[in-house]
């Protein structure tokens, strides 16, 4: 798809909030929370597309939340409303959402791993799931992101430096240990591992969303593999979301 940037928001932390629509005016394809798109950043020096999670989707828009960390993601900072991007997707398998109304689901995001959890939170709340979010950051996150979540569900912030919310890791947050039916995590690998270990030790099931480096995003190159109980599988195709018991962590 060729998508046009409707709005580019430079958040105080430096993160980018992109709102895109179809350049030809057509509807946005259906997407599931936890799926991702491959974005071609033709104005950067890079060759390959970059995988980015779906932050939100409506019939007319796709929203992305991007942390500029390298060549392609930093080059996105120079894009403005009206510019176009090549986008492939939606790709991969998203988060589970077939929970009974009233069940308790905890979403844990670390850093820009928070991105796919907004769309998921909206989906869960729509289904009557009791949804809570814990958002871990090194330092205080952008208020715009917190406010957005707060409109749909309960959100708790943890920071490594204590500059906002709870001072400490997400797994140390008092709400982390409260009984839940399911937990869904996206963030840096050490954080996801800690969450998984803790949840498993309490018998709570859940999923993590992996961010392995990808070349194609289509299951064709076999570059993005993760070792699972089924052997090496493509994160882009069988994931990025995996159930805890699929991983060999």
């Amino acid at each position: 798809m060729i998508l046009r940037l409707e709005r580019v928001e430079h958040l105080p932390s430096g993160w980018l909030w992109l709102i895109l629509s179809q350049a030809d005016g057509s509807l946005m394809p259906m997407m599931n929370p936890g799926q991702f798109v491959e974005v071609g950043v033709d104005r950067s020096e890079v060759l390959l597309n970059r995988p980015i999670s779906i932050y939100n989707r409506t019939d007319r828009t796709l929203e992305l939340l991007v942390a500029p960390i390298g060549r392609a993601t930093k080059a996105l900072r120079d894009y403005e409303a009206g510019d176009t991007l090549r986008v492939i997707g939606p790709l991969g398998q998203g988060f589970r959402s077939d929970f009974a109304p009233g069940s308790k689901v905890l979403l844990v995001g670390g850093g820009v791993g928070i991105a796919p959890l907004y769309y998921q939170a909206c989906e869960l709340v729509k289904k009557g799931v009791e949804t809570e979010v814990i958002f871990g950051m090194r330092t205080a996150p952008d208020q715009a992101i917190i406010d957005r979540f707060a409109e749909v569900c309960d959100i708790k912030v943890c920071t490594d430096d204590g500059s906002a919310g709870f001072h400490g890791l997400v797994t140390a947050h008092p709400d982390f240990g409260k009984a839940k039916d399911y937990i869904q995590v996206c963030g840096p690998k050490p954080m996801m591992k800690a969450c998984l270990k803790d949840a498993v030790s309490r018998g709570t099931e859940g999923e993590v969303s992996l961010e392995n480096m990808m070349a194609c995003g289509l299951g064709a190159c076999l570059c993005c593999v993760e070792k699972t109980v089924k052997g090496n599988v493509c994160v882009c195709k069988e994931g990025p979301v995996f159930k805890f018991d699929q991983l060999t962590w």
Partner: protein
């Protein structure tokens, strides 16, 4: 009407655009994006006798205008291909080609023998040039006698079109090409990836789990065009050219250098419709230049 058709000896292709092994899955991964029937052919994932798990992650690093990979021939084995994949691609109008890899001559032979039972399979591409596994065939592909031995052994059991894929990681690719021609290859394809390496200086670690890996993409194209040109002038069998092809002009470079067909690899990752755009671009070029048969341009340099 422009005639884009081409022939690799007796193997007829409706156009010269194929896909490169390891970059196009089994073809079906791309069927949401393109009609497989529109291609000249497609070369599926490297297939070995037994299933292989491949190398550890990380298997990929992007480099200037290219990428390194060390996938290491992860595949489900030839039986998996025959049972689970072949039925879904065998009726394609384009020509499916199986890329055969192995560590020992016996494995190449056993794998090819099994594939020979598939009536509709018109061609295999023998990968004697994978840089990513110990004895991943590159051991065979880097000496004339090794290449000759494995190709003649497979020639005895594989009755139809035999493409042999050559490694650029050799002193003289022309000499290797001559030995595989002598051993009975019907055509040669080149180039496989160039052995390369990249280091993450912040972490002070190699970017790939295997330290070295295969370089592909636009960065390798000038080397590939040169090698195709040299080989096309030195052997009598058709040459399939590949390495860094991103668009129709790149494909034309290979054809003018002597290639009867081309394969598109890394470019599929960036634009899954690139093969179709290349076919359209070749047609448009011919129309613009008053060329009625694309293959009239073959080897004009």
């Amino acid at each position: 009407m422009v005639d884009l058709s081409t022939k690799l000896k007796d193997l007829e292709l409706q156009n010269p655009v194929l896909t490169a092994s390891g970059t196009f899955g089994f073809g079906t991964e791309y069927s949401d994006f393109i009609d497989l029937d529109s291609l000249g052919g497609f070369v599926v994932k490297g297939t070995t006798l037994e299933a292989r798990q491949g190398n550890d992650y990380p298997r990929m690093a992007e480099t200037p205008m290219g990428m390194l990979n060390c996938v290491g021939l992860q595949n489900g084995g030839v039986e998996h291909f025959i049972e689970d994949i072949w039925p879904s691609i065998k009726d394609c109008k384009s020509v499916p080609v199986v890329n055969v890899s192995g560590a020992r001559i016996e494995d190449y032979v056993a794998c090819s023998e099994r594939l020979a039972e598939l009536e509709g399979l018109k061609a295999i591409e023998l990968n004697i040039s994978c840089p990513n596994v110990k004895q991943g065939g590159m051991a065979f592909g880097t000496t004339c006698s090794g290449a000759h031995d494995v190709v003649s052994a497979v020639r005895n059991v594989w009755p139809r079109h035999l493409i042999v894929k050559l490694s650029p990681n050799v002193t003289s690719i022309v000499e290797i090409a001559k030995s595989v021609e002598d051993a009975g290859a019907d055509s040669v394809s080149l180039i496989n990836t160039l052995l390369g390496m990249a280091i993450d200086v912040e972490r002070r670690r190699p970017m790939l789990s295997t330290i070295t890996g295969g370089l592909s993409g636009p960065a390798v194209k000038p080397v590939a065009v040169r090698m195709v040109w040299q080989v096309a002038h030195a052997v009598g069998i058709p040459v399939v050219g590949l390495g860094g092809i991103m668009n129709a002009n790149d494909a034309l470079e290979f054809i003018m250098a002597g290639a009867s067909a081309i394969e598109v690899g890394t470019a599929n990752f960036i634009n899954p419709r690139v093969t179709i755009e290349i076919i359209e671009g070749l047609k448009a070029y011919c129309e613009r230049h008053g060329v009625t048969r694309l293959m009239d341009l073959r080897g004009i340099i």
